[in-house]
Symmetry: C2
Subunit: 136 residues, 2 copies
DNA sequence: AAAAACTTTGCAACATTGTTGCAAAATTAA
DNA sequence: TTAATTTTGCAACAATGTTGCAAAGTTTTT
């Protein structure tokens, strides 16, 4: 994971600082999308709140990660994988009603929606809920 | 709108207080979903922040309104219409990239997604983005 | 219609969350 | 190794949301 983190940071010209490396490792290690609090709790050492917020912002700006908005306004973060690049217009995620885990889904099985008169769609996000592979 | 507000409150056994009536009228008058700040700004008189938060919570609990989470964590609120009742498993909304307006969409034109092995879907939400009827 | 029972409101205090400026420390480039 | 640049942590601040409680309002009962 360390290697992968270094590569991701290098690709986006982000300097290899401990906070960035550790946050990225946490996200890479996790099978699911994490809230900022979850990321903070999984870090091996303490970093200032400010630094974490700023790091999240940098990652988002550079598209190293993307955010997923849940019903109610909670936000989770997940690493943006290469295979997602063709998918910028379309994100699909799964929310588990049992464990609250959030997983990125492949877009393959979705059909683009038709719009009512006057509305022109340029992209869309889908949030599926149900039970994840660990909770069935 | 006054009448409609009274009916909606009555249906859910919510007492007919000025704050509730006015908030509901604002939401009924609006063609699009509103943030709490937008609701507050459209109110004809001042109500305490606390009261507005509590009223939103009551409305959500009683399903008078529903919340729509946008990318980044912003939340909008819209009245839950009767025709949406069969649609509890499925919400579709439109976000306008120009004016930031949020509109409820009918679900008719969406095809349910297929899930990867081990995941069982029980419902899903779609957030389409693009240009709304006023911005084309 | 008036009184009693119950609910909602507004205020104050507090907790949480996120932002900004700036000097110190770390990273990268020369 | 030094110089230039960027990031970090702290402090202060701003914004957002919550809780307890007395006063005011709404609904129910008589």
């Amino acid at each position: 994971m360390q290697e992968e983190a270094f590569v991701l940071l290098g690709n986006k010209n982000l300097s290899r600082t401990p906070c960035r490396v550790e946050m990225l490792k946490v996200l890479l290690d996790s099978g699911s999308a994490l809230s900022d609090a979850e990321i903070r709790n999984k870090l091996p050492q303490h970093f200032d709140r400010t630094t974490i917020y700023r790091t999240l912002r940098s990652f988002l700006e550079q598209d190293v990660i993307h955010s997923i908005a849940l019903e109610g306004g909670d936000v989770r973060y997940a690493v943006t994988h290469h295979k997602d690049q063709n998918t910028r217009q379309f994100h699909a995620h799964f929310y588990c009603d049992s464990c609250s885990g959030v997983y990125c889904l492949s877009r393959a099985s979705f059909v683009p929606p038709q719009m009512p008169e006057g509305f022109v769609a340029s992209g869309y996000d889908v949030l599926v809920n149900g039970k994840c592979r660990n909770c069935n």
